[in-house]
C-alpha cells in the first residue's frame, strides 16, 4: 500500500494488478523495463494465432469498455460490416470527464502496454491503421507515448512486417487541442478528420459501420486496450477469474474530493463496493476530518449523484444503473458535510455549458441558461421560481423522468438510469444532471438561498411581432 512519487495519484496495494503492474518501477515507461517485465510477449503469442482466434479470446474475456459506456470490446470489434476495408482503430486518450484520472497515468507510466494493446486489437480485428488521439493538455503523456512509439518502431514492434510476420501497421500519434466533447467517439472522429469536434448522429454514424473517413472504425479507450496484453498472455480464463461474470477483471477508479486518501486505485471489478473504496483501509480511509459523507458522484461528472444510502452497491453497471446512476468512466467525487451543494453542482453545470460543442440547441442554449439561473441562486439573488425554472429548462433537455437515487430520509424511490434526451450526445443532459440531482436530493439547501417568488417575468412570444 504505497504511492510512488513518479506516478502521482496512484496508490498501490495488495490486489490483483492487470494494468498497473509496472507502476512500481520508476522507469516503467521505458522499452527496457517493458521488455524486462514480459512486454510484447502477448503480441508475440498473438501473432502465432489466427486473428479470428484472438478476437474470440477477447470476446470470451468480456472485457468491458472503460471509456464510459461499458460496452464489451470483443462484441464491438465484431460490429464492422463484412467485407468493408480499410478499417481503423482510434484510441480514445482524450480523458476529460470531471473526476476521471487513469488514462493519463496509463499513457505516462506504461505507454508500451497501450501500444501492445493497440497492436493486438488491430491484428485481431483486421484494422489497418491506428490513430492514438491524446488529449492536448497532456504534455507529458504526449512525450512518453511519442518516445515509446519511436522506440517500438526502432525495435520492430510497429511498422512493416512486425516480428517477421505479415502483420504490418502504423500507429500515428495525434494531438488533441482542448475540447471535452471530443472524447465522444464520433466527435473524436470528426476531430481526427481535421474538423470541429461536433458529434455525429448515431444512427447512422455508428463508428464501427461509418467512422473515420466513412470507413468502419473501432474506437476504444486507453484503459480498455491496456488490458489486452494481459489477456493475450494469460488467456481469457485467467482474466475472468478476477471480478464477476458480468464485470470481470479489474478497473481503475479515481476517487477525489473530501476523502482522507484520494487516489487512483486498480480495484476488482464487480465486487468492490463504494463503501470499500471510500472507507476501506487499503483505499481512501474515510472522509476527511472525520466528517459525514454528504453525497458522491459515482461515475464521472455526468453521473447522477448518490447518497450514503447507496454505499453498499458494488462496482457493477446494471446494479448502479437500477439505483439511478451509472459507473461511467470510473471516477468518484466525494462531498462531505461541509459542502455547499448548489455551488458544487454549479461547477459541473459550468463545465458542461462551457464544453457544449454548440450543435444542439438544447445543449447550447439550455446549458448556458441553466448555468445562469443556478449562478444567481448560488449568488443569493434567485427566487423560488428559479428552482422550478431550473427543472423546466432541464425538461427541455431531458423530457420525462430523470434518474435519481433513493433516499430513506426523503422517502424517495430510485428512478433508474437512463433518461430521455433532446440532444445528440450526453453533454447537454450532463449540464442538467447535477442540477437535477442536487435539487432532488438537497432541495432545502436551495430553498434556504432564494427569496420568495417575485412575479415571474414572462415575455409573450407575440412580442416577436405580427406575421402577415
Amino acid at each position: 500500500m504505497t504511492s510512488f512519487p513518479w506516478a502521482p495519484g496512484f496508490i498501490d496495494g495488495d490486489r490483483p494488478k492487470i494494468v498497473t503492474s509496472r507502476f512500481q518501477y520508476e522507469d516503467s515507461h521505458t522499452l527496457e523495463r517493458y521488455l524486462a517485465t514480459g512486454g510484447y510477449e502477448g503480441l508475440r503469442s498473438v501473432l502465432a494465432r489466427s486473428p479470428h482466434d484472438m478476437h474470440e479470446e477477447v470476446r470470451s474475456s468480456t472485457l468491458l469498455g472503460r471509456g464510459g459506456a461499458g460496452f464489451p470490446a470483443g462484441v464491438k470489434w465484431g460490429l464492422t460490416p463484412d467485407g468493408v476495408f480499410p478499417r481503423y482503430l482510434v484510441v480514445n486518450g482524450d480523458e476529460s470527464e470531471p473526476g476521471t484520472y487513469k488514462d493519463r497515468l496509463l499513457m505516462e507510466r506504461d505507454p508500451h502496454q497501450l501500444i501492445e494493446g493497440c497492436l493486438i486489437a488491430c491484428y485481431a480485428a483486421g484494422l489497418s491503421r491506428c490513430f492514438l488521439y491524446i488529449r492536448g493538455e497532456m504534455a507529458l503523456a504526449q512525450e512518453r507515448v511519442a518516445q515509446a512509439l519511436n522506440d517500438a518502431y526502432a525495435a520492430g514492434f510497429i511498422g512493416k512486417n512486425i516480428l517477421g510476420s505479415s502483420f504490418s501497421i502504423d500507429i500515428v500519434l495525434h494531438w488533441g487541442a482542448g475540447a471535452y466533447v471530443v472524447g465522444e467517439e464520433t466527435a473524436l472522429i470528426e476531430s481526427l478528420e481535421g474538423n470541429r469536434g461536433m458529434p455525429r448522429l448515431k444512427p447512422p454514424y455508428f463508428p464501427a459501420a461509418i467512422g473515420l473517413y466513412g470507413q468502419p472504425t473501432i474506437v476504444n479507450n486507453v484503459e480498455t486496450l491496456s488490458n489486452l496484453p494481459f489477456i493475450a498472455t494469460n488467456g481469457a480464463a485467467e482474466y475472468t477469474a478476477i471480478g464477476t461474470e458480468s464485470s470481470p477483471g479489474t478497473r481503475m477508479v479515481a476517487v477525489s474530493g473530501h476523502v482522507r486518501r484520494p487516489g487512483v486505485y486498480e480495484i476488482i471489478n464487480g465486487t468492490t463496493t463504494f463503501r470499500d473504496l471510500l472507507y476501506g483501509e487499503e483505499f481512501c480511509q474515510g472522509i476527511r476530518d472525520d466528517n459525514e459523507l454528504k453525497a458522491f458522484v459515482p461515475g464521472g461528472g455526468s453521473a447522477p449523484w448518490f447518497l450514503p444510502d447507496q454505499l453498499d452497491l458494488p462496482f457493477e453497471g446494471r446494479l448502479v444503473g437500477a439505483a439511478g446512476s451509472m459507473l461511467g468512466s470510473g471516477a468518484i467525487m466525494v462531498m462531505d458535510s461541509t459542502t455547499d451543494i448548489p455551488a458544487a453542482a454549479l461547477t459541473l453545470t459550468k463545465f458542461y455549458a462551457h464544453e457544449s460543442c454548440g450543435k444542439c440547441v438544447p445543449c447550447r442554449e439550455g446549458g448556458t441558461w441553466l448555468m445562469r439561473i443556478l449562478d444567481r441562486v448560488v449568488e443569493g439573488t434567485g427566487t423560488t421560481d428559479d428552482l422550478d425554472l431550473l427543472l423546466e429548462v432541464g425538461g427541455s433537455i431531458c423530457p420525462g423522468d430523470m434518474p435519481h437515487a433513493a433516499s430513506a430520509d426523503l422517502q424517495l424511490e430510485a428512478t433508474p438510469f437512463p433518461y430521455k434526451m433532446t440532444t445528440i450526445c450526453f453533454v447537454g443532459p450532463s449540464a442538467y444532471v447535477p442540477v437535477h440531482s442536487a435539487l432532488t436530493l438537497f432541495r432545502s439547501e436551495f430553498e434556504a438561498r432564494v427569496a420568495p417568488s417575485r412575479t415571474r417575468s414572462r415575455i409573450p412570444v407575440t412580442a416577436v411581432g405580427a406575421g402577415s
Binding site: P98, R104, A139
Partner: protein, 207 residues
C-alpha cells in the same frame, strides 16, 4: 507575420503524410504554428490551409473550436488553474486569488510584460491531486496559495526554464516514423481488400 519556417514546413509535410487525408493534419499543424510563434497567426493559418488544401475559413473554424489555440499573443507562461468540481471542493478559488494577486491581473488577463496569462481551466485529469494547475500544460499537484506565489516567482526568475518551455511547445519529444519501417498512409478509396495478415492467416497465425 510569421509564416512557418522551412524546417517547420518540412515537419508539417511529414505529419501530413501520416494521414490518409491531409485535412487530418490540421490540428497538429496548428500546434506547430503555435509552437513557433507562441500563438496562431493569420499568416500561419493561411499557410496551413494551402498545405492541406482547404480554405483559411475552415482552418479558423476548426482552430477556434479548441481551447488550446490562441489567436492573439498570450504570455510566455499560460497558467491554467483548474476550477472543476474536485479542485473546487479543495480550494481552487484560493489558488486563483493568489495568482491574481501575485500577477496583478484578473482571470483571463495577461501581464504587461507579456510573461503571464492567467486562465481558469476545466478538469485537467488530475482530480485526485486537487487542487491543481498547469503552466504551459505542465502540472503542479496539490498546490497551495503559497506554492502558487513561489511558482510565479520561480518562473519570473527563469528557475524553471529547463522544466517548462515557453507557451506553444507541447511535446518536446516528437514521433518520427522511420521511412524504412513505416507502412504509409493510403487514401481509403484506394483499398478494398482485407489487410494481408487477415488473408494470410485463414489458417494459423500471421508468422
Amino acid at each position: 507575420m510569421a509564416r512557418l519556417t522551412d524546417e517547420n514546413v518540412t515537419l508539417a509535410k511529414e505529419i501530413i503524410d501520416r494521414y490518409p487525408r491531409a485535412k487530418s493534419a490540421l490540428i497538429p499543424l496548428l500546434h506547430i504554428a503555435q509552437e513557433q510563434d507562441g500563438w496562431v497567426t493569420d499568416e500561419a493559418m493561411r499557410q496551413i490551409a494551402e498545405l492541406i488544401g482547404v480554405t483559411p475559413a475552415e482552418v479558423l473554424g476548426t482552430g477556434t473550436f479548441y481551447e488550446m489555440f490562441k489567436f492573439e499573443p498570450v504570455g510566455k507562461y499560460l497558467i491554467n488553474v483548474c476550477g472543476t468540481m474536485s479542485c473546487a471542493l479543495l480550494g481552487a478559488d484560493d489558488l486563483m486569488h493568489a495568482a491574481e494577486e501575485e500577477l496583478g491581473i484578473h482571470e483571463g488577463g495577461t501581464t504587461d510584460d507579456g510573461m503571464f496569462t492567467l486562465h481558469r481551466a476545466e478538469c485537467q485529469a488530475a482530480c485526485t491531486e486537487a487542487p491543481c494547475l498547469q503552466v504551459n500544460y505542465r502540472y503542479r499537484f496539490r498546490t497551495t496559495p503559497v506554492e502558487v506565489r513561489q511558482l510565479i516567482s520561480d518562473l519570473r526568475n527563469g528557475r524553471l526554464d529547463d522544466e517548462i518551455p515557453p507557451h506553444g511547445t507541447l511535446a518536446r519529444v516528437r514521433q518520427h516514423i522511420p521511412a524504412d519501417k513505416g507502412v504509409g498512409a493510403v487514401d481509403p478509396s484506394q483499398v478494398t481488400s482485407p489487410p494481408e495478415w487477415i488473408t494470410a492467416s485463414a489458417e494459423g497465425g500471421a508468422s
